[in-house]
Symmetry: D2
Subunit: 359 residues, 4 copies
């Protein structure tokens, strides 16, 4: 008997179901003595022993469905060793569940935070395999995560729709795109949507550089400007602050996000109407795009291969178009940010896109 535990943790994204389907189909195409324990709502299900017994049938027909059939929740890494209200040590609880169910391995789908905990469980001796789930594409060790391209598609679609309104009304439009720490989604959607200005956390902006773009466009009879702005975009001044100082400043900000602050500054410095659009959680939802379904299926199938070979302690990623296994300890705690000098940024600058840092 092969006993596989499975859980999805952190913010949901597209193709979680596709990836789990890949694992289960991959294992069950060879073995017919498989038991699957689906833990409810992420690590919470593992901690409290809350799970469903599932079969291959439960994973049939879910390739195209958004969300996760297991549910998910955010369980901060830093609280993992902290006993809860009932004095329960969460790590011990998870080990207990794993051993009580005699699991052969645990497949964990998640992003950065999730991987830190996954590595912790590995260090505790559990057999762990992880799959790189995040719209942010910021997991170290893989070229691509599933969820990313779907989020880019949705953010691009938003910019496309706004484009027609912007041109008809001669307005400045700010589209706030998901990404608190990294700008991969904003960068790609900004280029794909034809944004004039792209602001990402990795390249602090100067408000004067932005208004210069707007004014220059007006002069050449392009009275509208589109800004693709990551949630975590930051001004040069704020980038110089210490982390704690910045957090304090943000908490006192009267605006819900940086986009609103930018809008006010632009409105004051130019004579333009500024509008803000926040696609928000739609960027995580709905049916995954074809690209994400292929990636998710691939890493799922490759995980199945490892399970059958009893090789544990890896994240399955994509390197140069091939699936690859990356030791969990190499992934945990690292962030793959946008390199400000990468060729994608240079190409964007080449066609005249501003990153708000030209002056």
């Amino acid at each position: 008997m092969l006993r596989i535990g499975m859980l999805t943790s952190g913010g949901d994204c597209q193709a979680l179901n596709a990836a789990m389907r890949g694992v289960v189909k991959g294992v069950c195409s060879t073995r017919d003595d498989v038991e699957i324990y689906g833990f409810r709502d992420g690590y919470k299900g593992l901690i409290y022993g809350n799970f469903d017994m599932l079969t291959a049938k439960n994973f049939s027909g879910i390739l195209t469905r958004g969300g996760t059939i297991l549910g998910t929740s955010r369980q901060p890494f830093k609280l993992m060793r902290v006993p809860d209200a009932n004095g329960l040590d969460k790590v011990s609880a998870m080990k207990h569940t794993f051993n009580k169910l005699s699991l052969d391995c645990l497949v964990i789908l998640g992003g950065n935070g999730t991987h830190k905990t996954a590595n912790l469980l590995r260090e505790e001796g559990l057999n762990i395999i992880t799959l790189p789930k995040t719209i942010d594409n910021d997991l170290w060790g893989t070229d691509m995560t599933f969820g990313f391209q779907s989020a880019v598609d949705i953010a691009t679609d938003t910019i496309d729709r706004i484009h027609t309104t912007a041109t008809s009304h001669s307005r400045v439009f700010i589209i706030e795109i998901m990404g608190h720490k990294v700008g991969h989604v904003t960068l790609n959607a900004g280029i794909a949507g034809g944004a004039d200005v792209i602001l990402i956390p990795e390249i602090p902006y100067n408000i004067d550089a932005i208004t210069a773009v707007i004014q220059k466009r007006t002069v050449v009879s392009k009275p509208f400007t589109i800004l693709a702005v990551a949630e975590g975009a930051v001004s040069r001044e704020d980038a110089k602050l210490k982390k704690k100082e910045y957090r304090e400043k943000v908490s006192k900000r009267k605006y819900p996000s940086v986009a609103y602050e930018l809008a006010e500054q632009i409105q004051q410095k130019t004579d333009k109407e500024v509008r803000i659009t926040v696609p928000g959680h739609t960027q995580r939802g709905g049916s995954p795009c074809a690209c994400d379904r292929v990636i998710a299926t691939r890493v799922g199938a490759a995980a199945a291969e490892l399970i059958l070979k009893q090789e544990y302690g890896y994240m399955i990623g994509i390197k140069n178009g091939e699936t690859a296994k990356i030791p969990l300890q190499n992934v945990a705690g690292k962030l793959k940010t946008v390199d400000p000098d990468c060729s994608l940024i240079q190409e964007a600058r080449r066609i005249g896109i501003s990153f708000g840092d030209e002056i």
Copy 2:
């Protein structure tokens, strides 16, 4: 020679270009001595004599394009008689442009505000034909306006995407849908998207009725709830205020919109995480849906028919599936709101949708 002026006014929406194409193709399929004066940015172009000379070719290939090739702007009706900074009386200026160019007629595409001004120009003796453009579907005298179904499609797509996240995280989600005065878009998108609660301006809500729905769902193992909320949704208490009092209250509100206020109330009264999504201007943008293209083409073609017959003073609408001409004076200044007792509302209630007024 047939001289036709054309302008698009108010907020942009889908199928404006499709409708203008219908007018121009309709006229030019019979007459080859047509001059088209496209006024820039709505009434502003007519006031200041800012226009482009256009031909049938300019209207070719624009059927599927969002926005308006003429540009648009909002020109409040109440300021039409008020001289501007240079002492210019706008109505006289518009008449002057019309007469100076010896226009046979002026085709105006717009919503409620636009129609008030259009009727004013008719009263001043100008030959006017209008087309019903608005995502709100709130123009009196027509069953359907173009833009409406496209907006419903986009709002529905937003709800669809949120659905997967809501179910995965057991959250309450509020989707704020366009509509300050009327709830047609919210009502239709809410039903199409499977919302559990629909709040529209025409049916004031009671916060306790809403939290009762959320709690009842949790009891039957549906720990998530989707609320489709019109921008102009209003609580019972606020609905009792006088217009001026309400405006004052809103201006002092610390939240950008009613959705945020609701979110806080729900979070306080239940133990649920609440998230807000505001598709905003995306609801007006992008390629029109097939239904809107057909409506826009039909009313455009019917307008051409009237122009060729020299019949003026009408809006072209859709009544019981046929194009119909409605005297402008009957349209101007009236609003087509959602009847709280209409069969659509009753059917929604029948399947268990709450309008927040059950208690």
Copy 3:
């Protein structure tokens, strides 16, 4: 106890699941003693007593899903009274199943053929309510059927995509759209997609009128032409044949469909490359559009209302924007075709669309 049978019959289409969800939610919001018998694969399930016992839960989360959770099949009306291989009289068998299960009523979702059998069952004394399902929109007694607008959307999307190829290559493109007997889908998608020529069964075409359009366009520097052609489009000569003669002629035709015949004729008479696209069954598949979800939900909810009132023998349709009950005997055996003189056709002609009958 309220015992409801349910089945979907004929070709599948979008929003079947949405409509069934409407019925079940509508009934279960008032009654909690409901048993639902879902017959498998249309009338076949009723004939052979093949069904699943379902609850409200089975109908949750299916609003957006294409196809039918009950399965469907085509059971020709003319064979209903003919005993099968085992000597089984199908009508008696269906009555037997109905009575054996003590059903209060049977809800049938289907198109024209389905309604003939439904009416037969009504005549036999069974309590029947039907819902108008068909992409063809050809059911008598209702303005709209669910499935129609989704099919129009998909066919329009096909024309949109072909447009870019047609303009880039200066080709003639024929898009063959579903509709053997009626042209509603082709007419609407043709207008929405900007087709130059629309051919529907109701207006027999003259090949010379079509080539005249192509040549006239080439002269005015539009070297491409788009034809939206219904499966059942017919030439003037063929329209004169008796039904039997025509069927014989078609069976001997070397082409799979009329589109291929047209393509060869056009290629011979002009110097143009002609390409054919057949979206085929994609027009019936996938998630229903917002408009169809609303219609399906409405007629489902209205059916629930009738069930609760024990009023039977009706199809629920949409008349002038409201749900309406139409006696089954008035619906069965009638076809709602496109009136060649209707205002939609006139408006299409006004903007220069050819129906292939101008010469």
Copy 4:
């Protein structure tokens, strides 16, 4: 003065306009003395000196538009040296046009055939830069071509829609996907769409292996089967034929394509209804997906960089996520096929997808 010629050749695809926009924006962001000669309809325009003088403005707003604003045509490589009806040597004619206009370089967007001619022109001493355009992704020297991901998206969407019909009717569905010589699109769309069988030119199929899959699925209560079949899929027997023999056999085939032959064989060997869907040219049309827009913009910008540096004789491709320049002589005449042993195929087999070669 910098004089740039530009042409698009071969079948059209998505993101051609996006790529040209990238080149022009890239050059014009640095130089303001640029003249752009847009040759009409591919090499034809270069041969006959048929071009438009274009400016940066002509390339604004075309990022999202399908097709090519320059038009395209197929000009077989093998005829390039063959004088035409008027005794014109095409290669000399193209050189003549290039020199007469004093072009600094010629940017050519195309696929395999196009690249052979492009390399020929390079050998003749012209300054050439090419961009890899093809939905087939079969250009040697680049990991990705633009057009590919959009085609995969559309083919996947087709499979998705067919899925609902297939499950509702218990049918076998064949979706014929573009690709005469290579199976990249079919392979990716097949995996993304959840096909049960994928047939590509690189892996000859055995009809018995296919029917075995269908029968095995029926046994486990999955009475429908989806086959994603490339246009160039070939049976084991046919794969053994010499090229000429095979062509002869195909020409005598009574079916329009391999899908129809397969359908008949399956229908005979199983008791299943089989249906065929051919999305055809829709796979090349419409707005490019976000991924293709980014690729097209990148290679366009990188081409601009080379032009400004006066480096010629390269195709710009994508290698390991970065733009790269590949000498034209290395690209011309080579085909990048699917390696039957690649990890993507192995992963597909791992989850139980059949390639029709298991027996």
